[in-house]
């Protein structure tokens, strides 16, 4: 108190002294301003010397909430005073206050015990989160990272099938990003994502290889490679199927179809009626059969029947019944080529109403095939279109969206109906590619499905080295043993779907891994490097953490921040500034008036 008093007295004396000096001065301009400055300066001086404080409230550090930092966290969202942990060395280096822990158990077993854990950043993996079961967890996610947001491609392709890679890319870079699909170090397709945009992309390529293939997806920003991801897929050779062609008269369409299928190793039998009770029979890669009468046993030998409508309609009731039974029960496929047959209704035709448009000239139009980006070459068509119906799917259309081929389910099998009757002109013109695409589409859609085989699935997206991967085998027979890279694993049968066996595996190396089961089957699956697909992994982690937090039984209870009343000192800097300003004014005033 003495100090305070003495300071005040000295300051009053100073004030009086300076005030007297100013009043005494001959030049009396701006006297009031000068006096004000003196008062301010002396007051500031006094405040500097005296300790000033006020009472206020500050939030209290909550020692019972642990903050767990994961990649991508924001420093501003870390609450003051709470204990901060991290599993990542890099984060610890970056943010020194964080305490590096080796496992999450250190959090759960900590003394004094943490009441809840707050996760910042992209979150944790599923297997890591499981360790935090017994403690309430809240989560503040980081914004979505730049890069690939989602991606999809078929894991298996058939020879001659195009690879279609679709996904979404978020570009936070300052410049446009170019996505390049590379196969065997050759650029196959590319797309540019503009700067600051999130957009869907689609890349396509026709693979030339067979077997296990790894394509590369590069994201380039200028000359910098942002990411180089592996796109593993298996390309399987096609399996020849057996085809039966039925026609009411010999025609070019059947002849070209038979030759094309036969030359590619498919088994073809063709029957064309040429006169009363007479039919010409042709066989390609097939032993002679009795085609006189269509029976269930005969149809059992074929995977798909291609016939013109009049030929199919002229079957005897017994034959028709056999066909219907094979289709609905056994999954046989029928491709029906429309022609000017009689009016008699048939179950084959009932789903496909046909409209004929009156046009003077022969129509020649490019066709659009299902799932194909490009149009085919022009083809002469009859102006006969299939009307839309529920439960049918259009396969081939023209540019005006007139349906020229459509398919529908018939029990276990499929029916494909088409009004295209001159596709052989493509072959005559040497256009094998379009011809093959069209007929492959129609036959693929209709052909009898292969008998069920075992199916190998990798349930964890983008498996990594030294991280658990969930592998599923779908098999109608229980596998005696499953071995991965000749190491036996122990599968568990799925309780809900009895034909699934799941196992967990920790891959030791990157690249293709072999899985074998029960001496019957084998499959290959791919393990990525740790760095690959980083943006997707982050998103996956964030999503997993979100789900975990949403589903946890113990919700965190603390909603209000605890506050504490404390004495807060006023910062001296303000008084320094006032003193400086006043003195400056006084000095400048004197300097420039004289």
């Amino acid at each position: 108190m003495n100090w305070t008093l003495s300071v005040i007295i000295i300051c009053i004396i100073l004030l009086l002294l300076f005030g007297w000096q100013e009043i005494k001065r001959a030049d009396r301009r701006r006297l009031s301003w000068r006096l004000l400055a003196i008062v301010l300066a002396v007051a500031a001086l006094a405040c500097l010397a005296l300790p000033l404080s006020y009472r206020g409230q500050i939030p209290v550090a909550d020692q019972s909430t642990g903050i767990l930092l994961t990649e991508g966290f924001n420093k501003d969202s870390i609450p003051v005073g709470s204990p901060v942990f991290t599993l990542d060395k890099a984060i610890q280096k970056n943010y020194a206050k964080a305490q590096l822990i080796n496992s999450l158990q250190e959090l759960t077993n900590r003394k004094p015990a943490l009441k809840q854990i707050k996760i910042l950043g992209y979150g944790l993996e599923d297997y890591e989160l499981k360790q935090l079961k017994n403690i309430p967890v809240s989560y503040t996610p980081a914004p979505a990272p730049s890069g690939i947001q989602s991606i999809s491609w078929p894991a298996k392709l058939k020879t001659g099938e195009a690879l279609n890679l679709q996904g979404k890319f978020k570009n936070n870079e300052g410049s446009p990003v170019k996505l390049i699909l590379k196969g065997l170090n050759t650029t196959l397709d590319s797309v540019i994502i503009p700067s600051g945009k999130t957009s869907n992309f689609q890349l396509a390529a026709l693979p030339k290889l067979t077997g296990r293939v790894v394509y590369q997806l590069l994201s380039l920003s200028g000359k910098d490679t942002l990411a180089n991801e592996s796109i593993p897929l298996e390309i399987e050779p096609t399996k020849p199927i057996k085809v039966l062609l039925l026609s009411a008269s010999p025609n070019f369409e059947d002849r070209f179809l038979k030759n094309w299928l036969g030359e590619n190793g498919y088994a073809v039998a063709a029957r064309a009626s040429i006169s009363k009770d007479k039919a010409s029979e042709e066989y390609f890669n097939l032993e002679k059969l009795n085609l006189q009468h269509i029976t269930t046993t005969l149809l059992d030998k074929f995977d798909v029947i291609i016939g013109d409508l009049s030929a199919l309609k002229s079957l005897t009731p017994a034959e028709g019944g056999a066909l219907k039974q094979q289709v609905t029960q056994k999954g046989l496929g029928v491709i029906i080529r429309a022609d000017s047959s009689g009016k008699a209704a048939s179950w084959l035709q009932s789903s496909f109403p046909v409209n004929t448009v009156a046009v003077k000239e022969q129509l020649s139009v490019p066709l659009i095939l299902q799932n194909s980006k490009t149009k085919t070459a022009r083809l002469n068509i009859d102006p006969t279109y299939i009307g839309y119906r529920n439960n049918t799917q259009s396969l081939v259309t023209d540019a005006q969206n007139h349906e020229l081929a459509a398919t529908t389910l018939a029990g276990a099998g499929k029916l494909v109906f088409t009004t295209l009757n001159h596709t052989y002109t493509w072959m005559l013109a040497g256009n094998k590619q379009d011809y093959a695409s069209l007929w492959s589409l129609l036959i693929n859609q209709s052909a009898r499905k292969l008998p069920p085989s075992d199916n190998w699935k990798v349930d964890s997206p983008f498996p990594n080295v030294n991280e658990p991967v969930i592998l599923t085998l779908q098999s109608s027979v229980a596998p005696s043993s499953i071995a991965i890279n000749d190491q036996p694993v122990s599968p568990a049968q799925n309780a809900a779907t009895p034909y699934e066996w799941q196992s967990t595996y920790f891959p030791q190396k990157t690249g293709w891994q072999q899985a074998k089961w029960g001496g019957r089957g084998q499959a290959w699956w791919y393990v990525n490097t740790k760095k690959s697909w980083s943006s997707l992994k982050k998103l996956k982690k964030a999503a997993t953490t979100h789900i975990f937090v949403a589903n946890q039984s113990q919700k965190d209870t603390v909603t209000k921040q605890i506050q504490q009343k404390v004495k807060i000192e006023v910062s001296k800097i303000w008084f320094y500034l006032i003193l400086l300003a006043s003195c400056t004014f006084l000095w400048v005033e004197r300097k420039f008036t004289t």
Binding site: N185, Y266, D277, S280, A412, L450, S476, G511
Partner: protein, 704 residues
């Protein structure tokens, strides 16, 4: 004496001053010349000699400005006075004759002469000027040096694009790796005679030679070596013969592209490329005539052939081969002839060739046709020939014949006859011209012209052209009559447009109409000539009109377009009811294996390479790569430019399978991708899921 000495001193000073001034001016000029010369040389690419010209010009200009030789003794003196106080402002006294001086002046003269001896030889302030000039020279030298340097650097940075653009030149190729024993190679390429090029020598192994060239290797080694081979395309071995143990020779004719290696004592070098420049065929461009030329009656019966022939090395021959077809139907006769061009072809690269063929000289008559083509041959005995061109002379007799007219769709026979009649009349008139008087000739000519006009007007009607007969009031006469007053029918008939009238509707198509119009045009031209009493000139137009009319006749024939055809289904009930039981059924059976994939090993190799990123190559994998290496080598024989790098890379991979370089893998993968054909699309069934028949059961229960 003293006086003279003084004057001489001044003289000497003047001489010296002048020469020093010249020196500084020359320095300045040299500076300018160096700078300008440098700019001209490096930026505009002119010769350095231009600098000399610039120097001379600069000298002249500077001298002209400064006039150093105009320095007078007086000015020397005044300058001396100004700078040397010991002369006491009176050095001019030295120049004056002694006799004219008064006493005072003489005294002063003595003093001055003495002082003159101490005056330095250099002009006052000269040092500064000399320094400035030399500084200027130094600066320009520095500037020109800078220009030279930047130009050099610019040139160095530029060739990188240049290199990319021109990859074929062996000089631009990247440096080759040679075996350590090889000291150097002198590869002499002797191009074949047809190219007309001299032999050239290079110090690189990569060969780019004309087809049929002979390459001679002269390899010097730094150590004596034993056996040396050149291995072509991986299997063909050619020994090198050694003059001594360090100098080796070999020679080979280059006819195919491929690659080779040097093998010294069993050690193999890098692969070197052999590229072959094929001799291109001669190119013939015909300017005239057109593919099909029709010479109408009355036109000059000759054809001018104008053509350009080029070849990459040289042409040895060019000829016109012609065939004349005479007669028609079964009596047609052919006669072959050949012509040389007006200019002889003797080994040059480009020729503009002309030749005029006079058709009557070939014995051609109206109705005959001339077929010809041009053939050129280059120094390498390669020949090219053009398409066949046709020239035909119109057959007037054929045109005038009545055949076809009677048979064809006959729309307006009388008019066709008329045009023919007009031609006959005109020809008769021409024949009679000499035997009849001028007035009669003119009258008849006019009559024919009138006929032509009538005909033209008749045809004009088909086109809906205006009637030129001048009887416009024709149709309206009835209206004017008193008895028709108020007769609505007559009035309507006169003043309405009866466009519903079937007879008025034109039955000609637009194309036919256009041709008819062209016919009328020809008729109009013919009439003009006839009216001017020039029947000879009218004749071609008459013929042309007739020809167009005949074409018009042909057009009325109908045309059926080709369409796709699908046979209708056979209807047994409509067939004849004969007994077919003994007729067998056609049964056709054939077998074809799906073609084996020739590229299996390359596809496998791609898989092995991919796997090698993650694990070491096994011996089985190595074998796969070896087979792929052979296939790539076979490809490289045909296209060394594309595949040679890959062959070297795959060999390096095979040599050190434990540590594969990513660059090598990339090159091989790229080559495999390039060599594989696109895969064929074939149908394949979809797989069903192993659901233990759940789906089946579901369907069954649904249908129950």
């Amino acid at each position: 004496m003293m006086v003279q000495e003084g004057a001489q001193k001044i003289q000497a000073l003047r001489q010296r001053w002048i020469s020093l001034q010249l020196l500084t001016d020359t320095l300045k000029a040299a500076g300018i010349a160096i700078l300008v010369g440098c700019i001209l040389h490096y930026l505009l690419g002119l010769s350095m000699w231009w600098a000399l010209g610039v120097f001379i010009i600069a000298c002249i200009v500077i001298f002209a400005i400064n006039h150093p030789w105009k320095l007078t003794l007086q000015s020397v003196c005044s300058s001396l006075n100004l700078h040397y106080p010991q002369l006491e402002e009176s050095s001019e006294l030295v120049l004056k004759p002694v006799a004219s001086l008064n006493l005072l002046e003489q005294l002063q003269l003595h003093k001055v002469e003495q002082a003159l001896q101490t005056v330095p030889a250099q002009p006052p302030g000269f040092n500064a000027r000399l320094q400035k000039a030399s500084l200027f020279l130094l600066l320009t030298l520095a500037a020109s040096l800078a220009i030279a340097k930047t130009h050099q650097r610019w040139n160095l940075s530029k060739p990188s694009q240049h290199n990319n653009a021109v990859t074929n030149g062996s000089t631009n190729a990247p440096p080759e790796k040679t075996l350590p024993q090889v000291d150097g190679v002198a590869l002499t390429i002797t191009p074949p005679a047809y190219t007309g090029k001299g032999q050239r020598t290079q110090d690189k192994f990569t060969i780019m030679a004309e087809e049929g060239a002979v390459a001679t290797w002269k390899i010097t080694t730094n150590v004596p070596i034993g056996k040396t081979w050149l291995i072509f395309n991986g299997h063909e071995r050619m020994p090198l013969t050694g003059a001594n143990a360090t100098e080796w020779h070999a020679s080979k004719a280059i006819s195919k592209p491929g690659f080779y290696q040097v093998s010294i004592d069993g050690k193999l070098s890098d692969l070197y490329q052999i590229q072959v420049i094929k001799d291109a065929l001669p190119v013939i461009r015909i300017k005239t005539p057109k593919q099909y030329t029709h010479i109408d009656a009355g036109e000059a019966q000759r054809v001018t052939i104008n053509t350009t022939v080029t070849d990459d090395y040289g042409l040895s021959d060019a000829h016109i081969f012609a065939t004349v077809a005479k007669g028609s139907g079964e009596a047609v006769k052919f006669k072959d002839t050949s012509f040389a061009f007006n200019t002889p072809v003797t080994g040059g690269k480009t020729y503009n060739l002309q030749r005029t063929i006079d058709l009557p000289k070939l014995g051609m008559e109206p109705g005959d046709e001339l077929y010809f083509y041009i053939q050129a041959q280059d120094n390498h005995q390669q020949k090219t020939r053009t398409d066949v061109l046709i020239v035909s002379i119109q057959d007037t007799a054929q045109l005038l014949s009545m055949d076809g007219i009677v048979a064809a769709a006959n729309i307006k026979p009388e008019f066709f006859r008329s045009e023919r009649q007009i031609i006959l009349d005109t020809e008769k008139l021409l024949k009679d011209k000499d035997s009849i008087s001028a007035t009669v000739f003119k009258n008849r000519c006019n009559d024919v012209g009138a006929d032509q006009k009538m005909l033209r007007l008749r045809y004009g009607k088909f086109l809906g052209e205006e009637d030129e007969s001048g009887q416009e009031a024709d149709g309206n006469e009835d209206v004017g009559k008193a008895e028709n007053f108020g007769n609505a029918k007559v009035v309507m008939d006169a003043y309405t447009d009866k466009h519903d009238n079937a007879e008025d509707a034109t039955f000609l198509e637009p194309a036919a109409k256009a041709q008819l119009k062209a016919t009328l045009n020809e008729m109009w031209k013919a009439e003009l000539r006839l009216r001017l009493y020039k029947p000879q000139e009218a004749l071609p137009f008459e013929y042309k009109a007739l020809r167009l009319l005949k074409d018009l006749q042909q057009k009325s024939r109908s045309f059926v377009a080709k369409t796709s055809y699908n046979p209708p289904p056979t209807k047994p009930e409509k067939r004849l009811s004969g007994d077919l039981s003994k007729i067998g059924q056609p049964i056709n059976s054939q077998n074809a294996k799906a073609p084996a994939d020739q590229f299996v090993s390359l596809k496998k190799a791609a898989m092995v390479l991919e796997q090698s990123r993650h694990q070491a190559i096994s011996p089985a994998d190595k074998q796969v790569l070896q087979i792929a290496a052979q296939q790539l080598a076979a490809k490289a024989t045909a296209q060394p430019g594309t595949y040679l790098k890959a062959v070297s890379a795959i060999r390096r991979i095979l040599a050190t399978p434990a540590s594969i370089r990513n660059a090598d893998r990339a090159v091989v993968e790229k080559a495999i991708q390039a060599s594989l054909p696109g895969s064929k699309t074939t149908p394949s069934p979809m797989a069903s899921s192993p659901d233990m028949g759940l789906g089946q059961r579901y369907y069954k229960n649904l249908n129950r």
